[in-house]
């Protein structure tokens, strides 16, 4: 449902031009300083980053390096202290709340470590929530939610509450919910962090499949085996980008089984 934020270019040529030149996301000098404690905490320090449509970006870095903070800013969940954020060429920083909410609702899907489902709602209803805020009619909502859950093999779990679902199932519901409004970008923070290996692998192959279909993905992790599902690796340290390179297909082949518990958490 992500309607383009930009004006439609007049000619096909201009359109092609724009497609090439306008990244999906463009960060310039993004700085985030938390003032919640007595001493200000700089979490991000002048991040420059472009993400093209269809990319699968893995963000890695030690704990406290600012990965989650970056993801929150990318998802318009938080505002940067300084810097500029362009989404499809349109300035996001400084937009009024209504606009930001609309962008979160239509353009972004979120998948988080602890699933973040509404405990009082069924799987089906959880998937419907973003569509409520998008103003989708009830019957259409129900239909779309059912389709998404079917796609992730949850047909028999639709009326279950989160507490009655396994972690893997909950995360699949969360992915279904993230896709509810057909977002342009899927953002995941440690999506497998709470899951046993087999389920983690399942989640990653779902994400990979989505990327194969053209979905742009940003996945934050400090686990190389998760990161290696991606096509590009962005490394953070002390709130700065210290590495940005493509992940070669052979690196992916080399990745050990996710099941290796020993060094999952450095």
């Amino acid at each position: 449902m992500g309607e383009p934020l930009t004006q439609t270019p007049a000619t096909p040529a201009a359109m092609a031009e724009q497609e090439k030149e306008t990244p999906l996301i463009s960060l310039r000098g993004i700085t985030k300083i938390y003032y919640t404690t007595k001493t200000p905490v700089p979490a991000l320090n002048g991040i420059d980053l472009d993400i093209q449509p269809g990319e699968f970006v893995s963000v890695m870095g030690p704990s406290g390096s600012g990965k989650s903070t970056l993801l929150h800013i990318l998802g318009a969940l938080d505002v940067p202290t300084r810097g500029e954020y362009l989404l499809e060429g349109v300035r996001v920083t400084g937009l009024p709340d209504r606009e930001l909410s609309r962008i979160r609702n239509r353009h972004f899907g979120f998948v988080f470590q602890s699933y973040n489902l509404f405990p009082e709602l069924t799987a089906l209803e959880n998937v419907e929530v973003p569509m409520i805020y998008a103003g989708v009619r009830a019957t259409e909502r129900r239909r779309r939610a059912e389709r998404l859950l079917e796609r992730f093999g949850l047909s028999h779990r639709m009326t279950h509450r989160p507490a009655e679902l396994s972690g893997g199932e909950q995360q699949r519901v969360a992915i279904a919910r993230a896709l509810a409004n057909g977002p342009t970008l899927l953002l995941a923070d440690e999506p497998t962090g709470n899951l046993p290996t087999a389920h983690g692998e399942e989640i990653m192959s779902i994400l990979q499949e989505l990327n194969d279909e053209g979905m742009t993905l940003v996945v934050v992790t400090h686990d190389w085996r998760i990161a290696s599902y991606g096509k590009r690796l962005v490394e953070l340290k002390d709130g700065q980008v210290v590495g940005d390179r493509p992940i070669a297909p052979e690196e992916r082949r080399l990745r050990p089984g996710i099941g290796d518990q020993l060094d999952r958490r450095p």
Partner: protein
């Protein structure tokens, strides 16, 4: 407002506390409003009754100004009004009454709320007539006058009392016993001079509807005896009370009021002049030189003619303000509960609200949801309170009457259900919603300020 929000509320038991508190407040408002508001809103539909009273402002040493109501009217005054003023239908003094009198019928005992000795004009004053048997005849009144100590063996009763004592059987001809056991049921003064022993019902009267009873506050009774003092028109002794009642013809009650004052004032002035000077033997003698007025000489009094409605409205206003403000306090306390509960919900829902924000809810929609939840709580409490006000009110009333051993306690509950007024219920509900909205202003504002990242704080 989505039904999911209701589910969210139902998960938190403390919401029920707020709902119950609002219900209690609204029940109180509705119950009190139901008894007070109909009186205030009645307008001119009430019975055309006037009270006539003689008032004097005295300056009591050591106390200050005191309003004294003095017995200055005579029976001939009532007759005068009836014959001179075409607007006056009936005039009668307030009957001599006794309260909570015990009676016995076929071995069973009852308490009658009010027993009274009434004059010939009584039914005309109330604007009612017997539904069974007859009212007292002139003979009855003459007999009562001949033997004031109470040998009269005829009584007239209200239809309500008849129903309680005799069910659906005709009451006329039935016997009621007024026991004479000393100390137990005999009440002071007037009551002891009422007839004792067995009396016979000669008639049944349907009394004015409950709604109008306020107008007959001092007049209404369930068990009637003929008054020994009211021998038609010939009495010249001072009436026992400073107040009497007049029923006016439908129409210009204000004109009747003015006429009564105009007719009675000269008579009153004359009587004031003939009054014995306080502390000094005989009153002003025309031939003696005028005495200098002493400081204790009472000033001239004033005739006050009012509709009991005005009195009832005043009583309802004072009572309503007093009880109503207590009910308002209950409602305000429920507002505080609602405020607290909403804040607790908010604290509990920081994560959930952040999540909704992340999924696309704007500040506005979070505000609407929070306000909506409070309105659901307040509204549920309001509806519950309105629904409870009537049965609870009726139960309390029944209990009160039962404790007082009133015959009304066992009468049909429909009779008592008069104390429910839709407008009062609407008012209660409206106030509940207002309280709900006011209570949620701050929590709502706070909730809408929560940022989406809230969902992902604390390692969630």
């Amino acid at each position: 407002m989505h039904s999911w929000a209701v589910r969210r509320l139902a998960r938190r038991w403390w919401n029920l506390l707020a709902v119950l508190q609002v219900a209690a407040g609204v029940a109180a408002i509705t119950a009190i409003g139901s008894t007070v508001l109909p009186v205030l809103w009645q307008g001119d539909d009430g019975p055309q009754i006037l009270t006539v009273r003689y008032e004097r402002e005295l300056n009591e040493p050591g106390i200050g100004k005191v309003i004294s109501i003095e017995p200055i009217f005579r029976y001939e005054d009532l007759e005068l009004l009836k014959s001179e003023l075409p607007g006056v239908v009936a005039a009668a003094e307030a009957p001599e009454s006794a309260y909570q009198v015990e009676v016995e019928v076929e071995g069973r005992r009852y308490i009658v709320q009010r027993v009274a000795r009434v004059g010939p004009d009584y039914l005309k004053l109330l604007g009612v007539s017997p539904v069974e048997g007859s009212f007292f005849s002139d003979d009855d009144f003459r007999q009562a006058a001949a033997d004031p100590s109470g040998t009269v063996k005829s009584v007239v009763i209200s239809q309500e009392l008849a129903r309680v004592l005799f069910g659906n059987e005709p009451a006329t001809g039935k016997t009621i016993t007024l026991p004479t056991r000393a100390g137990k049921t005999e009440l002071a003064g007037a009551a002891s001079s009422f007839a004792h022993g067995s009396v016979q019902v000669i008639g049944v009267v349907e009394m004015p509807p409950v709604r109008d009873r306020y107008a007959f506050f001092e007049v209404y009774a369930d068990l009637l005896f003929p008054s020994p003092r009211a021998v038609g028109g010939s009495g010249t002794t001072a009436a026992g009370t400073g107040t009497f009642y007049v029923r006016a013809k439908t129409g210009d009650i204000e004109k009747v009021r003015r006429e009564i004052i105009a007719t009675l004032t000269p008579l009153i002035r004359q009587r004031e002049a003939e009054e014995p000077v306080p502390g000094g033997g005989v009153g002003a003698q025309p031939l003696q030189p005028p005495q200098p007025p002493r400081p204790s000489q009472p000033p001239p009094g004033e005739i006050r003619v009012e509709t009991p409605q005005a009195w009832a409205v005043e009583a309802a206003t004072t009572g309503g303000l007093y009880l109503g403000s207590m009910a308002m306090i209950a409602l305000i306390v429920s507002g505080i509960a609602l405020f607290t509960v909403t804040l607790v919900n908010l604290a509990e829902q920081r994560h959930s609200i952040g999540l909704r924000r992340a999924l696309g809810a704007s500040r506005g929609s979070i505000l609407r949801e929070t306000v909506g939840e409070a309105i659901v709580l307040a509204g549920t409490g309001g509806v519950l309170g309105v629904a409870l006000s009537e049965p609870v009110g009726r139960f309390l009333l029944q209990t009160l009457l039962w404790t007082a051993r009133s015959p009304l306690a066992s009468s049909s509950p429909w009779r008592l259900s008069a104390y429910f007024d839709l407008r009062a219920a609407a008012l209660g509900l409206l106030l509940a919603l207002v309280v709900g909205v006011v209570a949620v202003l701050y929590p709502g504002w706070e909730s809408s300020r929560l940022q989406p990242v809230e969902a992902f704080r604390d390692g969630r």
